[in-house]
């Protein structure tokens, strides 16, 4: 892990020291610039920033989570990506990967927090339970909320890694027994980058960190605080099966011929059309595949409440408050039936109740008919 001395190195220096040559470094700069959605003319700026910027200290907190974000992170496919992130960004505190433990670990964190007050980046993986005084998640004898407030105090910016920190993920699913709460609902006075996904794509995570380093400011964010470079398009919009969607060719079940032919998974519950992520372009595991390519619909893991919007294999899902299995259509059909029945009853009742009026009207009409002259 980073020592006080290494913090003063620039990124470039530490990369070279690690045994990479300049060519590797330039490849990395090109590669990450492409992921960040930058033009080729910007590669020079990325390289220059990495050469000249001193490494930013990072505190990486783990709360209610499964560490899949870290797992995804260390598997981002360019070797320098993992190196830069894990060794070079001076990750001063991360429970999972740091060598120190116990009191030493906590001491290292506090040292960074004091020394780099207002400069360090706080990465948060996991949501914070607010129920029962935060007792559902305690580290070093203190509650997650307590730790988060302390760490956020001196942070320059906060990155909320993954769906847990961004919108609560599985543990915030109904009925949310621990009151798992995403970071932006607790910390209001710091810039927060939300990087949803369960986990987020490793290259996306690296791209965001490099953006922070290169430009010294947050990437452009959308209305939900997600970096636009990675979350402005739906998975559906970049899906290679999209032509089947437009052609109206859908798999009806997972074992029919259409599914085997690679048709669109829309009707078996694919959440691609409602999920903003870059799985369709960056993909996973060194760009090998992503869920839809493997024949399974997207479950929308980077969307808020994706767990409650189940079942994953149905297009229309239950409406809250109407029972689990009742979709909008079922309720609609029943309501339309009830209304139609009610109207029929009303029509009969109207003819009975207003019979005098109607009878006199009919009589008058008939009388007038007899008086017709021509």
């Amino acid at each position: 892990m980073a020592t006080e001395k290494s913090v003063k190195e620039t990124y470039y220096e530490s990369i070279i020291k690690q045994g990479y040559n300049r060519r590797d470094f330039m490849k990395f700069a090109t590669y990450i610039a492409a992921y960040m959605g930058l033009e080729t003319s910007m590669i020079g700026q990325v390289a220059k920033s990495l050469e000249n910027t001193f490494r930013i200290p990072v505190i990486w907190e783990h709360y209610q989570e499964c560490t899949c974000c870290s797992e995804s992170f260390i598997r981002s496919d360019h070797p320098i990506v993992s190196d830069i992130i894990l060794d070079k960004i001076s990750l001063d505190y991360t429970l999972t990967l740091m060598a120190a433990s116990g009191h030493q670990a906590e001491a290292a964190k506090h040292a960074t927090m004091e020394k780099y007050k207002g400069e360090y980046i706080l990465c948060v993986e996991g949501s914070v339970p607010l129920g029962d005084d935060g007792n559902y998640c305690c580290i070093a004898g203190r509650s997650a909320k307590d730790l988060l407030l302390e760490a956020a105090e001196g942070a320059k910016a906060i990155i909320a890694w993954g769906s847990c920190a961004s919108n609560g993920c599985v543990q915030a699913a109904y009925p949310n027994p621990t009151q798992a709460t995403p970071i932006h609902k607790i910390i209001k006075n710091k810039p927060i980058i939300r990087v949803p996904g369960c986990p987020p794509i490793g290259e996306v995570m690296a791209g965001i960190i490099v953006h922070l380093i290169t430009f010294g400011r947050l990437p452009e964010l959308d209305g939900l605080g997600r970096p636009k470079a990675f979350y402005s398009k739906r998975v559906h919009d970049s899906c290679y099966r999209r032509p089947y969607y437009d052609a109206g060719l859908f798999a009806e079940t997972f074992d029919d011929q259409n599914a085997k032919d690679g048709y669109c998974l829309y009707k078996v519950g694919c959440r691609g059309p409602m999920t903003y992520n870059s799985c369709g372009t960056i993909k996973w595991n060194n760009g090998v595949s992503y869920p839809i390519q493997s024949g399974h619909g997207c479950i929308g893991c980077s969307e808020e409440d994706f767990w409650d919007n189940g079942p994953f294999y149905e297009r229309l899902t239950g409406l809250a408050g109407f029972g689990i299995e009742s979709s909008a259509d079922t309720i609609g059909k029943v309501a339309a039936g009830v209304v139609a029945g009610g109207l029929a009853v009303h029509a009969v009742a109207a003819n009975i109740s207003k019979r005098k009026e109607l009878r006199s009207r009919t009589t008058r009409g008939k009388q007038n008919e007899k008086k017709l002259d021509s």
């Binding site: 939900l224 829309y266 309720i331 609609g332 339309a336």
Partner: protein, 250 residues
């Protein structure tokens, strides 16, 4: 024996009628294409995607009709400022004593089917009755919900500024999923409205015999002579005969 005269009164102006039918057609097309988009029919085919584009076409029709629906709605709002008293926004403003009186009357007589001992012809509305007007206000709000959620969902793939103006809707409501659910559910409310609306039009036509149904085609309704200002004899002579309907009351 007493004779009650009815006179043809121009109630629904041409733009109002155009609005009504364009709107009705748009809602029908939107609902049908919407349900197809939500749950497309199964097609088993060994053809390639390049041979078809029908689902894209259905979506195109949905989006194009959405624009028609939206602009039609804007024109109707405009007309509520320049049109006659029956199409004016005032006819939909529910906060006057007269409106409330009529509202309670309609609830009592037309919904709960009570019979009045001495019916007052002034209780019969010439344009919208208060309950109907209120239902159109609700429908207008539902239409806004559809416009906001619909364009909100559409905005991320649009390049025009108009749908882009709605790009805040999805983040505001929390994500595409909930927005789609709202959009889909509101369609059902439109269907429920249509059922009740069409029934009540027939109901009023059947019971009151003033041309409720045909008024939305020709624009005229028959109104009791007593409710019109007294005409001078000269004017009376000029009045063409076919403008009147007669009814003999015992």
């Amino acid at each position: 024996m007493e004779t009650r005269k009815f006179r043809r009164v121009y109630v629904w102006e041409l733009p109002v009628r155009f609005f009504h039918w364009i709107n009705a057609l748009a809602v029908i097309i939107l609902a049908i294409t919407g349900f197809i988009i939500a749950n497309p029919p199964a097609i088993l085919s060994n053809k390639e995607a390049s041979d078809f584009y029908w689902f894209g076409t259905v979506r195109f029709i949905h989006f194009a009709t959405a624009y028609v629906f939206f602009f039609n709605m804007i024109l109707r709002v405009y007309w509520s400022f320049v049109g006659n008293r029956f199409s004016s926004w005032r006819a939909f403003w529910p906060f006057s004593k007269k409106m409330w009186h009529n509202f309670l009357h309609v609830i009592k007589v037309d919904v709960f089917l009570a019979n009045e001992k001495k019916p007052d012809i002034r209780d019969i509305s010439i344009g919208h009755n208060s309950v109907a007007a209120f239902s159109y206000v609700i429908l207008f709000l539902l239409a806004l919900v559809q416009v906001f959620t619909g364009f909100g969902l559409y905005s991320s793939t649009a390049s025009w500024w108009l749908p882009k103006m709605f790009s805040w809707v999805v983040p505001f409501l929390g994500g595409d999923f909930i927005v789609r659910t709202i959009h889909h559910t509101t369609t059902w409310l439109f269907i429920l409205f249509t059922l009740i609306h069409v029934y009540l039009v027939f109901y009023h036509d059947w019971l009151e015999g003033r041309g409720e149904v045909s008024s939305m085609f020709g624009g005229y309704k028959f109104v009791c002579d007593e409710r019109l200002k007294k005409l001078t004899e000269e004017e009376e002579m000029e009045e063409p005969v076919d403008e009147e309907a007669m009814e003999i009351i015992e």
